[in-house]
Symmetry: C2
Subunit: 447 residues, 2 copies
């Protein structure tokens, strides 16, 4: 069969990874796909820039039209990143009847609804396995492998940079800034790491997973986003004493009142598999009503893991070339005309246990004041633990783990507690997730 010709737009780390993997494994890939997959063109911003030598032979151009409008190219691989320019490129490629493969989670999370509609109207596919979890194949598993399930929870470590920093803080007993510096020096954090450590990157990925799990449109702006910059080593050590680790999770949970969509640091028990996912690795736990809990683990970023996902997408697109477009796997798992707009639950109404750390001037009656406020907001306490006097000898940390509490009540209670004269500074608050506890009855109540 005639080879499939690929044009790559953006020849950075991932682009070179795709070229290398397609070249190195071309024989096995052809044996799987039944035909050769060849990169014929790559678009770069600067033709003069020094690049590491690539073994494959293809044309370099600085004009993306040479790819999008090239009648010999079957699939365009978008690797320029960002949203605006990438969006224009993908639209152009679709208009010119090219299928698209992309690793761009920001693009899919923020512009996916419109782009998928355009692609479907033209009988084309936009494949985006590389957008979440690198080479783990989580999109494929969720969209196809678990097609028989009613999904009720997704819990994922989906940002490798944050996971590296948190792992490094705990293992090497570092503060956040030092761990971030190490991540930057090792190339695990970008020069501007704000997208990763603010939780925005995880929110992009969570948006995509939630849409595929629940058959809802992409709702990036509805995700509650909290990063890791406020997590201290002190919190990690207290959590450790109580048998928890602190991880940054993306959570998409079905509840009777809507879908919770939130990404933030969490205490999770040490015996949970997710708490043992360390360094830059990613892992996503999916709970389905038939399959129960499953976990999917691997490198979430890097040139070749990302290339692994892109090549899988290329092979998938090649396979669908002879399918009736209406009978392909829909972009977001559910037939677009059968999507249901389940509401996203207001963050103030979510219910989780909480870890609280308060610095308290140790005098009689303080604890009574704190517990009175919590009680008034209907927040019951699972553990309360008063720590040693700190180095200044003025105040002592008190650690509280609450039972399930409504977000708004916790926030209001904390505001009141922070007003107490005996409280030094702000109250640290970190949510806690019990990943192995599943309220199956919830699953059937939701429309």
């Amino acid at each position: 069969m005639k080879p499939i010709n690929i044009g790559i737009v953006g020849l950075g780390t991932v682009g070179c990874g795709v070229v290398n993997v397609l070249h190195r494994n071309r024989e096995e890939i052809s044996r799987r796909a039944g035909r050769d997959i060849c990169v014929t063109h790559a678009v770069v911003r600067d033709l003069e820039k020094k690049r590491p030598p690539l073994e494959a032979n293809f044309a370099l151009t600085s004009n993306s039209i040479d790819v999008t409008d090239n009648p010999n190219i079957d699939i365009v691989v978008e690797l320029i990143g960002g949203v605006r320019e990438a969006s224009q490129l993908v639209e152009r490629a679709l208009e010119k009847n090219k299928h698209v493969v992309t690793a761009n989670k920001a693009l899919i999370a923020q512009r996916g609804n419109e782009l998928f509609e355009l692609a479907s109207s033209k009988g084309l596919t936009i494949a985006f396995e590389a957008a979440v979890g690198g080479g783990i194949s989580i999109i494929k598993v969720l969209r196809e492998g678990l097609a028989g399930n009613r999904i009720y929870r997704i819990s994922g470590i989906i940002n490798g940079t944050s996971n590296y920093i948190l792992t490094e803080m705990f293992n090497s007993k570092l503060d956040f800034e030092s761990a971030l510096n190490n991540a930057t020096n090792l190339g695990y954090a970008e020069h501007d790491p704000s997208t990763d450590i603010s939780g925005t990157d995880a929110a992009h990925k969570l948006t995509i997973l939630a849409s595929i799990a629940y058959g809802i449109p992409l709702k990036f702006s509805d995700v509650y986003v909290e990063g890791i910059a406020h997590i201290t080593l002190e919190d990690m050590l207290y959590a450790d004493e109580l048998n928890y680790r602190i991880k940054h999770l993306g959570l998409a949970i079905r509840t009777p009142d809507g879908i919770e969509l939130r990404t933030h640091p969490c205490l999770i028990r040490k015996d949970e598999l997710l708490s043992n996912i360390n360094g830059v690795m990613n892992a996503i736990q999916i709970d389905g009503d038939a399959v129960g809990p499953t976990l999917h683990y691997g490198a979430g970023a890097g040139a070749e893991p990302t290339a692994s996902a892109i090549v899988a997408d290329l092979v998938d697109v090649v396979r669908t070339l002879t399918t009736d477009p209406n009978n392909r796997v829909p972009h977001l798992a559910f037939q677009p005309r059968l999507m249901v707009d389940v509401p996203i639950l207001d963050m103030k109404l979510t219910t989780t246990p909480y870890y609280l750390r308060l610095n308290v001037i140790d005098k009689p009656g303080v604890l009574a004041d704190i517990t009175e406020i919590l009680g008034r907001y209907d927040i019951s306490i699972e553990v309360i633990s008063q720590k040693e006097t700190n180095t200044q000898g003025r105040s002592v940390p008190i650690i509280i783990i609450t039972h399930d509490a409504v977000e708004k009540s916790i926030m209001d209670a904390i505001s009141e507690i922070e007003q107490l004269a005996a409280i030094n500074g702000l109250v640290q608050r970190i949510r806690l997730e019990r990943l192995s506890v599943v309220n199956k009855s919830v699953v059937q109540q939701v429309g």
Copy 2:
């Protein structure tokens, strides 16, 4: 679109699971598949047998011809188990132009080569996701998700019964028989558990995974099979002291001289993810040259996890109904005409470290005799540890961990050691796997 009609042959636990999942989740499944998937017939051996009530409505028959030869049925789900009868059923269904979905690993491992050839010659699909790892989607991940990779190792906990028994032995400090009894009482082991505890079930599953990973025909008879009945609690406790757990693994490893295909108990380090997979759960680690290590975890058996995989297969088959058959994902990942018959390495030539336990009459010179024999067979020692005198006060256990050694040398050395007058009984030998150590250079040397 017109609904897809399913006939189920065998209405045991899994059959009822499929009926229940298709019924309970029919609305979400239809929204994914774009059409309804309806069970219209089920074949049972005994029409009079009392069955739990099923909500779905379909015809019961005791004659499988009513399903295989029924022009209104699109897909036959084979759930009768065993090889001979199931094979005849699948052949009949294919002859009558039905696609087939099966959970039968013995059938695929032992008769898959012929059945896939027959199916392909008729443009039909046999889907078998449920045959390995229940609802984990491991077939899909390996066959499609990792299509860009050169796979170099599969290491899996793929028999839930064995994993439950080993977990229970260690956690509850039981001997093998007591743990097996518990498994039987809880329904985790069948009345005749021999297929599970002998390693045969794992060998069936390993056969399938290896074929998909390496593009080789199914070679069940070439798998080295060893079960768990000889593992003692004593070994588990010694392993624990040395920082290992004992797990029953299926291993398919690419080497320059051929593919290792073996299933047996293994010592693995406690910090490996696989060593933390407990109870009846399954997990498969796949190492690919691009993606690196990935791990895929979930329930490997049970009515609904298996049904999850079967429903995913049904949806997949429905999607391929409008594909050119030659452009579908091949049954064993690689285009049949492009399969390569890489040899399976003779077990005697495999190389692993070994855990040995010897009962030695404690007198001068014994250790020298043992190490002399090991040295003569080119077996070097990483750890040697002499334990306390045992309760009989006559002999002491000695634990040895070797460096990498060739299987044949280990076996010959053990035979000689067992001849020594100072050795009581047989030498216990358990292989050891270092899952995080990968010799990437190996990958590129193999043809």
